[in-house]
Symmetry: none
Subunit: 247 residues, 2 copies
C-alpha cells in the first residue's frame, strides 16, 4: 500500500530502459516518496529489468499507475512541474529544484495535488508535455557537461522534496479554501477554445498553426485558474458561439 | 588540466567497482567539480570499466590523485568531512549535506583546503578514516530504506557544493526577461471583452450583471499575463467577432 504521507506524484514520461525505472523507484523511496506514475514505458510493463534494479523499492513499481499519455497522468492534478535541462524560452516560471519542491510542499499542504514530470532518457520532455506544466524545474548543471540521467534527476528532486517537506508550515486558510481547477479541466478548456477558434478561422497562416496552438495551450496552463475561472471562460466562448448562431 | 576554480577534493576511499568510480566522476563534473582523489581502488588503476562509465568526464579519472591510504589523501587538507549513513555516536559535529557544503565553501573562500571522504560501496568508511575527519556529513535518507550508492552520494554532495558555492543559475531566468503586460494593457483587454460580451448578450440576468463584470475583471487582473498573452486574447475575441460578421 502507498503511504498516506502527503507527497507529489513523480511521473516518468515514456521512460526507455527498465534499469532507469528501477533506479528511479529506489531514488524515490530513499527519500520516502512512493507514488510513481508511468506514461507508456517503451519496453512495456511490467519490466523484469526494472524489478531487478529496484530491489527493496519494488513495491513502488507494483503500485505504479500505468497510463497511456501525459494528459491521463496529470488529469487529477492542480499543479504540474516539468523537469528540463533547457529552459527553451518558454514563458513559464523557471524554478530551481529547491524552490520547486518548496512550492510543491506549500501547495500540497494547502490540499492541492501536485505532479512532477520527468522526460525520456535521451530526448527529455516534448513541448506537448511541457505545455501541460504550470512551471519548469531547471537543474543547474555544468553547462560544459550536462549528463544527468533519469535516476539522478529523480534522486535530486526526491532529496529536495524531503528537505522541503520538513520545513513547510501549512499555508494560510484562505488560499487553502481556493478551489483550483484540475489539469483535466484546464485541458478541456484548452480543447474547447481550440475547437471553436479553429471553426472561426483563428489559426492562420498554415505554417503557424502548430505554434499558435502550443502558445495558446501554454498560456492556459500557466494561468492559476480556479474552477470558477474555467467556467467563466467556457461561458465567454459559448456566448460568442450563440451570438454567431443568432446570425 | 584541473580547473582553477576553488573547490573541495572528493576522496573515494577503497572504492570497489570501476563503474561506480566512473559514475562518481560524472556526478562531480555535472556540478563543475574536477578534483578526485582515489585511495587504493580494489581493482587497481587505471580501470577500463571506470573509463567506460565516465564517458565525457574521463579527464577527472586521468587526473585523479592515486594514493595508498586515507592519510596520504588528506595530508594537505585543513578541513576534512566524512560522509556516512550512520552517525555512530562519534563525538564530532554531524552536518546536513547543505550545511556541510556551506561550511566547506566558507573555509575554501578563507584559503583552506577541504576534502570530502566517501567510503567503499558496501561497508562505508572505517572508524580509522572517520577519525581523520573534522566533521561528519549525514544524508537524511528514509530510515526504512537507506540504499544510496557511491555515485548517488557523490551526486548529492556535488549538487550541494554547487548550490553553496553560489554558482546556481539565478532563478526565473526566463521570466526575468519576460515582457509582462502593464496594468493599462490588462485594463484595455478587460474593456474589450466586456464590450464584446455585452454586445453578445453574455451579461444576464440583469441583477447579476455587475457581479459578472467584477468577476471577469478580477480574473484578468489575477492572471500573470505577458504582452503576447494579451495580444493573443485580443485576437481570440476579434476573431469571434469577425466570424460572427461573416454570418
Amino acid at each position: 500500500m502507498p503511504s498516506d504521507r502527503p507527497q507529489p506524484a513523480f511521473v516518468l514520461v515514456r521512460p526507455q530502459m527498465g534499469e532507469n525505472i528501477g533506479a528511479a523507484a529506489r531514488a524515490m523511496w530513499n527519500f520516502g516518496l512512493d507514488r510513481m506514475r508511468l506514461v507508456a514505458p517503451r519496453d512495456g510493463w511490467p519490466n523484469p529489468k526494472a524489478d531487478a534494479m529496484a530491489s527493496g523499492a519494488g513495491r513502488l513499481l507494483d503500485e505504479a499507475l500505468l497510463v497511456a499519455d501525459t494528459a491521463a497522468a496529470v488529469g487529477d492534478c492542480t499543479y504540474v512541474l516539468a523537469t528540463t535541462a533547457r529552459a527553451r524560452g518558454l514563458t513559464k516560471p523557471v524554478l530551481s529544484p529547491e524552490r520547486a519542491m518548496v512550492v510543491a510542499a506549500e501547495k500540497i499542504a494547502a490540499g492541492e495535488k501536485v505532479a512532477v514530470l520527468f522526460g525520456p532518457e535521451r530526448a527529455g520532455l516534448e513541448n506537448d508535455d511541457i505545455a501541460r506544466a504550470n512551471a519548469i524545474i531547471n537543474v543547474p548543471v555544468n553547462p560544459e557537461f550536462a549528463s544527468l540521467n533519469l535516476g539522478q534527476c529523480v534522486l535530486l528532486m526526491a532529496y529536495e522534496w524531503q528537505r522541503a517537506a520538513g520545513q513547510v508550515v501549512p499555508e494560510r486558510v484562505d488560499l487553502a479554501k481556493t478551489d483550483w481547477a484540475a489539469q483535466v479541466e484546464v485541458e478541456a478548456l484548452a480543447a474547447h477554445y481550440e475547437e471553436r477558434l479553429e471553426e472561426a478561422g483563428f489559426f492562420f497562416p498554415e505554417h503557424k498553426v502548430e505554434s499558435m496552438k502550443t502558445n495558446l495551450r501554454n498560456m492556459w496552463s500557466r494561468m492559476p485558474m480556479t474552477r470558477a475561472d474555467v467556467q467563466t471562460l467556457h461561458g465567454v466562448m459559448r456566448q460568442m458561439v450563440r451570438w454567431k448562431a443568432r446570425g
